[in-house]
Symmetry: C2
Subunit: 352 residues, 2 copies
């Protein structure tokens, strides 16, 4: 009646506990035939390994690191506090999570940070950094050392990561275009597209998706070339001011990068028509406030808590060689209006 244990499994397979252990944990020194026998018995009696007991017996703790850009924007600091919060919640479950800020635009720094992981006894790492040949190789080396690696928020499709945790940026761009197109209505006009830089993969992907939808579904709209702010407020002010002056038929603005603070304040300073549709990425206190005030029409975002927890779950599953529930790890592209803004939680703490 009660759940079968390894003991039952050994009996059912007609082998000893030691052999069952060898099979379950993939140790060698077992004939293929015997492995088969055990697997058959697993199936027969419906044996399910008790993760609770297993992690306890393993007397292991898991140590995971998030390697993040050292840029100071709110999106990143939300990630940092989310990692801290998740780490607190997971103390009960033998998991430690830390963040490591690195100048990720310098591949050498990333390589160095990744290289130091094994020395620190890290079991898994989530990396948010642009893909370069150097980082690709470093990721390969980290994995060769038996450390699980996920790319985080920004994928490195050609790197040997275990998985990518984040959204599809082409679809994010398509979503932005659809919203702008539908919010703008039938009258023709221009959409300003503003990004921190067009060098990054996410900007390229979003732009690609954006253009595809504008061309196909909203041909009466004209999307401007991407205006780069380089995350510099003086420059942002200047280029935006020029662009606005040069665009009499402005209908919408797409703030493509996660750091929209500079652009938003430049827009406020300059002033645009109240019916100008503005869409930004990532829910921060600033974009939340702008949604409420009506300055922003919509925000396209990903749930940061979900991102972080998903990364930790996946890293842990890899480290424990356990399965993951795929449907739980799909990060959604969320559209936020003022109406469906998540209410601010009173207690950002773990509570019980």
């Amino acid at each position: 009646m009660s759940k079968p244990t390894t003991r039952d499994l050994a009996a059912a397979a007609g082998v000893s506990l030691a052999t069952v252990d060898r099979v379950l944990n993939g140790r060698d020194g077992v004939r293929a035939k015997t492995i088969e026998k055990v697997n058959a018995a697993i199936h027969d009696i419906g044996f399910v390994r008790d993760q609770t007991a297993a992690t306890l017996a393993r007397k292991r703790f898991y140590y995971f690191v998030f390697v993040l850009p050292d840029r100071q924007d709110e999106f990143l600091s939300l990630i940092v506090s989310s990692v801290a919060e998740a780490g607190r919640a997971l103390r009960h479950e033998r998991v430690t999570a830390r963040t490591l800020r690195v100048p990720t635009n310098d591949p050498h720094s990333v390589v160095q940070a990744l290289g130091a992981l094994a020395r620190d006894g890290v079991d898994g790492v989530a990396v948010m950094a642009p893909e370069t040949p150097q980082t690709r190789d470093a990721i390969q080396r980290v994995r060769d050392q038996g450390i699980a690696v996920v790319t985080f928020v920004a994928d490195q499709p050609n790197a040997a990561r275990d998985r990518f945790i984040g959204i599809n940026d082409v679809d994010a761009g398509r979503t932005a275009a659809t919203l702008i197109g539908r919010f703008c209505g039938a009258a023709p006009g221009t959409v300003l597209v503003i990004a921190e830089t067009i060098q990054s993969r996410d900007s390229l992907d979003r732009r690609h998706g954006f253009d595809a939808v504008v061309q196909q579904d909203f041909p009466h709209l004209h999307a401007s070339p991407t205006i780069e702010t380089y995350a510099d407020s003086a420059r942002t002010e200047r280029v935006l001011s020029n662009a606005l002056a040069a665009t009499p038929d402005l209908r919408a603005i797409y703030l493509m990068s996660s750091a929209s603070a500079a652009a938003l304040s430049a827009l406020d300073a300059h002033g645009v028509a109240p019916d100008c549709v503005v869409i930004a990425h990532e829910l921060t206190s600033l974009t939340r406030q702008s949604l409420i005030s009506g300055r922003l029409s919509a925000v396209i975002t990903q749930d940061i808590g979900h991102l972080v927890r998903s990364a930790l779950r996946v890293l842990r599953a890899k480290a424990e060689n356990a399965p993951t529930v795929e449907s739980q790890e799909r990060i959604r592209i969320e559209i936020l209006l003022e109406a469906n803004l998540p209410r601010l939680e009173e207690t950002p703490e773990v509570s019980g």
Copy 2:
């Protein structure tokens, strides 16, 4: 260096293991002063109870039941399979989850189902049923028996449930109104509002939020009285046909209930202008298909997997008297367009 155990805690508090155990598990027979001493030591040495070892030692399994309406619509069958999937994934973690279909419109049936739970050794229950005085009392009785109760999808605000797992329906209605208002543009016209019934709390709440936003932000639009389909296709066909004929200035349709199949096929049969904005609730194969075909402009939904997992996490935390991570349990009101539709997963199974 390593994590403090109960042994370390006992030493730090200057008491025995037995006393530590009494304090940690809230057994009585301990002087208030001693409890204080132990709690101080917990704080001092940063003791964190190891949930893994605790559940193992408790030799307990958790058995949770979802009490769901016996209506046959796709939304419900998605919930059922999601519960099954979560149950499979949680076998590793000493959790069993089942669904129980009940004619929830009959309070007596709900009361009976809830009454049987304790007999079956159930540790927690998620209830999706309309609030009535009878169900309210039954929930109270269930909780008095030490069984955790969450209301699920449909809240019963006045019942003594531990928590509600689901979205805020007023905000859902506000979201629908905002989308319709923005998609329709400035021209005046009528919005048809269609629901299965206006008796249910979720319909009332959604309608309330919807009207508030239409009146405030889109006064040029006129929202029709709620048209009830009673989930009957013949009736749906008839009332919809009448309504369409009587509404020459139709601009949009809001399908307010989770079961939109009958209404959508009636719309298809009857034919409406291609630029008519149509918004429905819940992502099902039908609404997905309708988004792709363009029949639907947007779908407002909640992640069913998240709902189910959240309910199970909360029930388990209550049963174990453990904390929950609040930020993880907030169910989001999601807006789906064709562009941000989650891709269908190839393997709906647990993999890894």
